[in-house]
C-alpha cells in the first residue's frame, strides 16, 4: 500500500475510533483505521467493558440463585467450569469484534495493522510487518485510548499478580484475592471473583470506595460489598508486594492495621486497579503542532481539533471521563467538523455506569458538583424501599435522585443506585440533554410496575408530592 492517500486516517480501532471511521465513511470519505491489535474493538470490546459485563452476568446469576433460598428455591452451589466460562466470554468478544470488522468491510473502511507514528501533518508511518508503510492523509483522528497505571511499588513479575486484562482472562480462581483500588474496575472485578468463590478484600487509599459517585449512591454498593466481600478497607495504602511460595505478602498501612500501623497479609492473588493513563506517547506527535498537557492528554478544542488543524483527538487520549460512549460521540463531533458541518461538543450529560451489584449510574451534574459550583438546586431523592417493582425483586437497596434547578425545576443531573441503574439512566440523559423540567418527567406516564417509575416519582417530589413516598 505504498503512497496511499486517505481523506481520513483514524489511529485506534476502539469504540471511539471505529465509530468515527464508520461515520466518516458514511459521509463518503476514503477512510482507514490503523490498529495495533489483530482485532477491532479496542480495550472496551477486547479487554474491558464487554468481557467484564459477560462475567458480571455470570456473577449475577450465581448471586441470584443463592438469594432465591430466601424464597424457598434452593439451588445447589454451581459447579464452575472455568475453561468453559472463559470460552463463553471469548465467544462473546469474538462475535462482537467480528461484527465490527464486517461493518468496516461493508463501508470500505481500510484496516491497516500496525503501530502508527506521525511523520508530519499529512503523513504517517505504520510499522506492521518488517517494513514500515507510509500512509498519507488529509485528516487524522487520534483515538489511541488508555492503559492501566501500574505504580512500580505495586508491580511484581508473578503469575499471581493481575492487572485488569489478566483478571479478565480468568487464569485461576484464587482463594484469597486482594483488589488494590476501590474504583469501578476493582469493584466490578471483585464482584466477579467473589461470585466465583474468592474471598475478596478491597483496599482503597481514600475514605470511601467509588469516590467519583455521590456518596449517597456509592453507599449502596459499599454496604453490599461489606456483606459479601471478606473486607473493604478504606484509608488504607499498599506499601509493597512480595511473592512467597504460599502467596503474595502485602504490606498495608492504615486504620485497619491499628492506628496507622503497618500490617502484613497474605493473598493468593493481587489485582491492581488504581487508574488509567492516556496513550499519547510514541506517536511522533513532536513532528506536528499537536500538544499534550501535563497529565498526558492531548489538548483539543470543542470540535476535538488539536493544535494541528487537520488532526483531531477523541476518547480516553483526549481527556476525562474515560468512557467508550463519550469517545464515540467525540468521534462524531470530529467527523462533523471534518466534513464541514457545524459540529461542536456541547453535551450536557455524559452518563457513567458502574456495573457493580447494585449498579450505579449518573449523568449531568452530580449533587456534589452542583453544590461545589454553588448552584441553587433542589435534590429529589426517591428511595427504592418505596418502589413496588424493587420490592418484587427483593432489591429495595437503591435510590433515584434528581438534581434540579431550584427555581425552574430544570433537571441538570440524575443519579441512580440500584439493580439495572445502567439501563434506567438513559431516561435521565434524555431529560438533561433536552432541557426537561421535573414536571416533564412527572407528567410522562411510566409503566407500572417498573423501576423506571422511580424517576417519575422523584420528579413528582419537585411539586411536593410523590404517590408512593411521604
Amino acid at each position: 500500500m505504498p503512497n496511499t492517500a486517505f481523506d481520513l486516517v483514524v489511529i485506534g480501532g476502539g469504540p471511539g475510533g471505529y465509530a468515527a471511521a464508520f461515520r466518516a465513511a458514511d459521509h463518503g470519505l476514503k477512510t482507514a483505521i490503523v490498529e495495533l491489535d489483530d482485532r477491532l474493538g479496542g480495550v472496551c470490546l477486547l479487554r474491558g467493558c464487554i468481557p467484564s459485563k459477560a462475567l458480571l452476568h455470570a456473577a449475577q446469576v450465581i448471586h441470584e440463585t443463592q438469594e432465591m433460598a430466601a424464597w424457598g428455591l434452593k439451588f445447589p452451589r454451581p459447579q464452575i467450569d472455568l475453561d468453559a466460562l472463559r470460552d463463553k466470554k471469548e465467544t462473546i468478544v469474538d462475535k462482537l469484534s467480528r461484527g465490527t470488522g464486517t461493518l468496516a468491510k461493508l463501508r470500505n473502511v481500510s484496516i491497516i495493522h500496525g503501530r502508527a507514528r506521525f511523520l508530519d501533518r499529512n503523513r504517517l508511518s505504520v510499522l506492521g510487518g518488517e517494513k514500515p508503510t507510509e500512509v498519507r492523509f488529509k485528516n487524522a483522528i487520534i483515538a489511541t485510548g488508555s492503559r492501566p497505571v501500574i505504580p512500580r511499588t505495586l508491580y511484581i513479575d508473578d503469575e499471581r499478580w493481575f492487572d485488569s486484562t489478566r483478571a479478565l482472562d480468568l487464569p485461576f480462581i484464587p482463594e484469597r484475592l486482594l483488589v488494590i483500588g476501590g474504583g469501578y474496575i476493582g469493584m466490578e472485578l471483585g464482584t466477579v471473583y467473589e461470585a466465583l468463590g474468592s474471598k475478596v478484600t478491597v483496599v482503597e487509599g481514600l475514605d470511601r470506595i467509588l469516590n467519583t459517585a455521590d456518596p449517597d449512591l456509592a453507599r449502596h454498593v459499599a454496604k453490599r460489598a461489606q456483606a459479601r466481600f471478606q473486607a473493604v478497607r478504606t484509608n488504607t495504602k499498599v506499601e509493597g508486594l512480595r511473592a512467597e511460595k504460599t502467596g503474595i505478602v502485602v504490606t498495608l498501612r492504615g486504620p485497619g492495621a491499628g492506628e496507622d500501623e503497618k500490617e502484613e497479609a497474605e493473598f493468593d492473588a493481587v489485582l491492581v486497579s488504581v487508574g488509567r493513563r492516556p496513550n499519547s506517547e510514541d506517536l511522533g506527535l513532536e513532528t506536528t503542532r499537536v500538544r499534550i498537557n501535563d497529565k498526558g492528554f492531548i489538548e483539543v478544542d470543542r470540535q476535538m481539533r488539536t493544535g494541528e488543524a487537520n488532526i483531531f483527538a477523541i476518547g480516553d487520549v483526549a481527556g476525562e471521563p474515560m468512557l467508550a460512549h463519550k469517545a464515540s460521540h467525540e468521534g462524531f463531533t470530529a467527523v462533523g467538523a471534518i466534513v464541514g458541518g457545524e459540529a461542536l461538543w456541547d453535551k450536557k450529560a455524559v452518563p457513567a455506569v458502574v456495573f457493580t451489584d447494585p449498579e450505579l449510574a449518573w449523568c449531568g451534574k452530580t449533587e456534589a458538583e452542583a453544590k461545589e459550583e454553588g448552584l441553587d438546586v433542589k435534590v429529589l431523592r426517591f428511595p427504592w424501599s418505596a418502589s413496588g417493582r424493587a420490592t418484587t425483586l427483593d432489591r429495595n437497596d437503591g435510590v433515584t435522585k434528581l438534581v434540579c434547578d431550584a427555581e425552574s425545576g430544570r433537571v441538570i443531573g440524575v443519579g441512580i443506585a440500584g439493580t439495572n441503574a445502567g439501563e434506567l439512566i438513559s431516561e435521565g440523559v434524555l431529560a438533561v440533554e433536552m432541557g426537561a423540567v421535573a414536571e416533564d418527567i412527572a407528567g410522562s406516564i411510566h409503566p407500572h410496575p417498573t423501576l423506571s417509575e422511580t424517576l417519575m416519582e422523584a420528579a413528582e417530589m419537585f411539586a411536593g408530592h410523590a404517590t408512593h413516598h411521604r
Partner: protein, 459 residues
C-alpha cells in the same frame, strides 16, 4: 466614614477614558448600582455604577477630564461594606454599545455575575435574577473567544448554566448561525424548541443580520405619495442579498477597468462558429473569455486563491473551476464550470450551454454551485459598458464583462473601426496589490487581443 470609590476595570484593554457626565451631586443618596458617571472610552461610552449604597460626600471626577482605572470618582459615606471598589470582573463584560442605555445596568450585572447567589438572592426578585443570569450568560458567550486550536482546553467548565435546549435545537442554532443563548424558549420552563430557533432566525432575517446588513432604517409610509404593493422576497433573493451584503462589507474591493480589442477574436469566433454548430455546440465569446481567464490565472495564482484569516494563510488552488454568473427569472445564480484548464473550447462551449440552460430551469445540483476558484460575470449579452462586480467569497477576484462595441480607433496614423470589449476585474485588496491588479488585467487584455499567439504559441 467616607470611602473613596475608584474607577474599576470595566473591560479588558480599557485603561480609562474621559468623563462625559457626572450623574450625582454631593449630598445625594445613591443605591448600589446607580450610575455615578459616564465614561467615554475609545470603545464606547460606559456608565460607571456605584459599588454600594451610601451618601455622596464629595465628587472628585470632573466632566471633560480623563480618568484612569484606580483614580477616584467620589467619596461615599455610610455604606456598610462599601470599603473598596468592586473587584474587576474576571470575564470582562462587553461595554454597552450606546450611552443612552438604562443607567448602571450593564456594569452592575457584570459584578453580580461574580457574586455568590445568596447575596444576589437577598435583594432581587426572582424574575429579575433570572433575566440577569440570562444576560450574564449572553455576555459570557460574547466575551468568549472563538474556539481555536487548543485554545479551549478539553473539559474546561462552561461558565453559567447551558441553554435549556435539546441537541436538535442546538444543532439547528449552530447551522443558522444563531446564538442559542439569545433565543427565548417557548416550551414548559422556558425550554428552547427547534421551532423557537427558527422563529428567532426568521425574526433576525427581517431585522437584518447585525454587523453585516446595516440595520434596517425606519421606512416611511410610501402610500402617502401613491399606491404601492409589497412582495415577499424569495429565499433565493434573501440569500443573494445576504451574501452580497456580507461580501461588500467584509472585502475591500478594488475595481480595475480596461478595454480589450477583440476584433481579431470576434473574427476567429465567427469563422469557427459554424463548425461548432455542426457538432452541436454554440461557440460564444464567453468560452474564449474563460480560456483566456484561466491562462491569465495560471500566471497570477494569487487571483485563484482564498484567504484563511484564522490561520493567517493564503490557500492557492491548483484547480481552475470558474463560476459563471447566470441570469435566471428568480435571480442571479453562479454555477461552476470545472477544470477549465483541462478542457478545449468545444467541451467548454457544450458544457456552458448545458449548465446555463439547466441553471435557468433550476435543474442545477447544489454541488454544481460550489467550489469555484474565480468567477466571471458577462453582461455583454444584455448591454451596458463597464460595471463593478462584487467578489463572491471565499474567492478573491471576479471579472465583469460588458457589451462589446465597434468604435473608431486611432491606429497607425489612421482611424479604423475596431470591436472593443469593456472589462473590469474586482479584486480583494487585502491579498492583492494594485500593481498586480493592473498586471492581471493587462495580461488578460493581451491574451484576448493576441489569442492565438498566447494560447497556441505561448507567446
Amino acid at each position: 466614614m467616607a470611602e473613596r470609590i475608584t474607577l474599576p476595570e470595566l473591560a479588558e484593554g480599557i485603561a480609562g477614558g474621559d468623563v462625559v457626565s457626572v450623574a450625582v451631586s454631593e449630598g445625594d443618596t445613591v443605591t448600589e448600582g446607580q450610575t455615578l458617571i459616564e465614561l467615554e472610552t475609545d470603545k464606547a461610552t460606559v456608565p460607571v455604577p456605584s459599588p454600594a449604597a451610601g451618601k455622596i460626600v464629595k465628587v472628585l471626577a470632573k466632566v471633560g477630564e480623563p480618568l484612569q482605572v484606580g483614580e477616584p470618582i467620589v467619596e461615599l459615606e455610610g455604606a456598610p461594606g462599601a470599603v473598596k471598589a468592586p473587584p474587576p470582573p474576571e470575564k470582562p463584560a462587553k461595554p454597552p454599545r450606546h450611552a443612552e442605555r438604562p443607567p448602571a445596568e450593564p456594569a452592575t450585572e457584570a459584578e453580580q455575575v461574580e457574586m455568590p447567589p445568596e447575596e444576589r438572592g437577598a435583594e432581587k426578585p426572582a424574575e429579575e435574577q433570572r433575566v440577569e443570569a440570562r444576560q450574564a450568560r449572553q455576555r459570557e458567550v460574547q466575551a468568549r473567544p472563538e474556539p481555536g486550536p487548543a485554545e479551549t482546553p478539553p473539559g474546561a467548565p462552561e461558565a453559567g448554566e447551558p441553554a435549556p435546549a435539546g441537541p436538535a435545537a442546538r444543532r439547528l442554532a449552530r447551522e443558522l448561525g444563531v446564538d442559542i443563548n439569545r433565543v427565548p424558549g417557548s416550551s414548559r420552563g422556558g425550554r428552547i424548541s427547534p421551532e423557537d430557533v427558527k422563529d428567532f432566525a426568521r425574526q433576525r432575517m427581517k431585522s437584518g443580520v447585525p454587523g453585516v446588513t446595516p440595520a434596517a432604517a425606519e421606512l416611511p409610509d410610501f402610500a402617502r405619495w401613491g399606491p404601492v404593493r409589497r412582495e415577499t422576497l424569495t429565499t433565493l433573493r434573501r440569500k443573494i442579498s445576504d451574501n452580497l451584503a456580507r461580501a461588500w462589507v467584509t472585502i475591500p474591493h478594488v475595481h480595475q477597468f480596461d478595454d480589450a480589442d477583440i476584433t481579431d477574436l470576434a473574427a476567429l469566433r465567427k469563422a469557427h462558429a459554424p463548425r461548432f454548430k455542426e457538432r452541436g455546440a454554440n461557440l460564444t465569446m464567453t468560452a474564449f473569455l474563460l480560456k483566456a481567464v484561466v491562462a491569465t490565472l495560471q500566471k497570477f495564482p494569487q487571483f485563484n486563491a482564498s484567504l484563511d484569516p484564522v490561520n493567517g494563510e493564503m490557500v492557492f488552488k491548483d484547480y481552475f473551476h470558474i463560476g459563471v454568473a447566470v441570469d435566471t427569472p428568480g435571480g442571479l445564480i453562479v454555477p461552476v464550470l470545472r477544470d477549465v484548464d483541462r478542457k478545449d473550447l468545444y467541451a467548454i462551449s457544450r458544457e456552458l450551454g448545458d449548465l446555463a440552460q439547466r441553471t435557468r430551469d433550476r435543474q442545477v445540483g447544489l454541488e454544481e454551485l460550489r467550489g469555484a476558484s474565480f468567477s466571471v460575470s458577462n453582461l455583454g449579452g444584455i448591454g451596458g459598458s463597464h460595471f463593478t462586480p462584487i467578489i463572491n467569497p471565499p474567492e478573491v477576484a471576479i471579472l465583469g464583462v460588458g457589451r462589446s462595441r465597434e468604435v473608431p480607433v486611432w491606429r497607425n496614423g489612421q482611424v479604423v473601426p475596431r470591436t472593443i470589449l469593456p472589462l473590469c476585474v474586482a479584486y480583494d485588496h487585502r491579498v492583492i496589490d494594485g500593481a498586480d491588479g493592473a498586471r492581471f488585467i493587462t495580461e488578460l487584455v493581451r491574451t484576448l487581443e493576441h489569442y492565438q499567439d498566447v494560447m497556441l504559441l505561448g507567446l
